[in-house]
Amino acid sequence: MNLYELTISSASKLLNEKKISSVDLTKAIFERIDKVEPKIKAYLKVLKESALAEAKESDKRRKAGKTLSKIDGIPLSIKDLFCTRDVETTAASNILKDFIPPYDSTIVKRLKDAGMVMVGKTNLDAFAHGSSTENSDFGPTHNPWDLDRVPGGSSGGSAAAVAADECLGSIGTDTGGSIRQPASLCGVIGLKPTYGRVSRYGVIAMASSLDVVGPITKTTEDAALLMEIIAGRDPLDATTLDVPVPKYSDNLDRNLKGLKVGIPKEYFTSGMDKDVEEIVKGAIKKLESLGAKSVEISLPHTDYALATYYIIQPAEVSSNLSRYDGIKYGFSTLRKNKNQALEEVYFSSRGQGFGDEAKRRIMLGTYVLSAGYYDAYYRRALKLRTLVKQDFEKAFNSSASGVDVIITPVSPTPAFKIGEKTSDPVKMYLSDIYTVPINPAGVPAISTPAGFVNRDGKNLPVGIQIIGPILGEEIILQVSHQLEKAINIKQKPDI
């Protein structure tokens, strides 16, 4: 077996048994990157020199018996939305090109303190606005299973890098599906934790009431391992929850006998690819064969969730992106011409610095928040958010014979072709239809590979979404782990 094909947990074991070194492992990853990266384009920046130095340090620690954690010496990638001290952080946007953060985001700091080897910063839709990475201002990432197709987005670079064995795991963000949808389209695990479970400090903000940070990995066990490091209260993010972090990886072998699985009827309507539907139903049958019981449930406001999301999210985007003004940092027309008036600097720096999708969302958000439209759109969306959230609370209510987990598709189709949806934003937005209701509700959900569909002679992965109640990461990881073992996918992309 090639070293780059290892999972985090298997590599960790081999490192501890001193059968491999972190330097060997890291070198293997960079050889892999040299080979496949010209086709995949998952990375915006590869940090070979510093990564090899970090690997050397890790090996030294191990030799001295001072290993920091299970991920000490493990090569990971980070979505380029996370501030990394002294390493350019762009959010894949021109307006942040050359931006050098003066500090590490909390999650990067925690991973560094645990001994991570940082391989590089991965591509994304600029500012995480998108479902395909085609909105990256620096060019799209390609799906390892079919290079003509998108890897999903916005964390498409992370998912593609994991699927193509260009790192052992990655950290992404999810505002409306940005971890789960690319994980599904690339055939890897993607966990969107409960809102507030993981710190957002130092993550370039998209929509602050919806953004969450989570792992993208080859196995559920690896996602559990990374969660143990990244989850938990952070004094620098006041929205993090002060709740102890379970040892997720110790409790994965749960027997699913008697587990109550809810199947929301609103998610199985027209618009879903027939082959995708077959795979989702097959996964539900697998869970039943493991002893779970499935019941049809209703999440009655599902139909309004997409509209609610596409009002609240741009509203928060327009507010968060107002900080890019050409005065404090980032792209600025002032750098070339110091004789401009303030308004000119604002208009020209933002006009030239933001891409089309950022502009669309800023304008949408500004519109729904503006006088005369606030009540009709934004306020109504905040009320609808309550109803969407209550749908999930009722479904999981244990005192009213609620379910343990909910199963749905992740994406209505497998990976689509590059260029297929770029001219029609609504088409692109609709590819998130099964993932966006989760974020306004704040509940956790995981995308787990469940099978393949064949398109143009290529096998394309399809994932299913396992949704849990607030702080229910433990149970969705358990179900994902059991399903992963039962389905036992061995196939790898041929790049």
Partner: protein, 96 residues
């Protein structure tokens, strides 16, 4: 229905310079997005509370402690500065 004038007004409010081609394109595309929003009028929302965050957390306080100063690192990214000051252009332009 989003008209060209709406796009112009919103772009002005958001301090975005747009080209003529962009104005036409965005007018068309934003209309498509607003079609998605039409259905929200069908739900009865009287008496429903608003949700702006889901954690239920209230005020979160911290100790009033001095932390290390990072101003030099932060200033590194400023487009136009004089020593430790950020230069902000004139707010009112001079008459040409």
């Amino acid at each position: 229905m989003i008209k060209k004038d709406d796009v112009l007004l919103v772009a002005k409010l958001a301090r975005l310079q747009l080209t003529d081609i962009q104005i036409d394109k965005f007018s068309r595309q934003l209309n498509g997005v607003f079609d998605l929003f039409e259905k929200i009028d069908r739900v009865k929302l009287e008496g429903v509370a608003e949700t702006s965050q889901v954690t239920g957390l209230g005020n979160v306080l911290r100790d009033d402690k001095v932390v290390p100063d990072k101003s030099q690192d932060i200033l590194r990214n400023v487009p136009y500065r004089k020593e430790n000051l950020i230069v902000v252009p004139k707010i009112i332009a001079e008459k040409q």
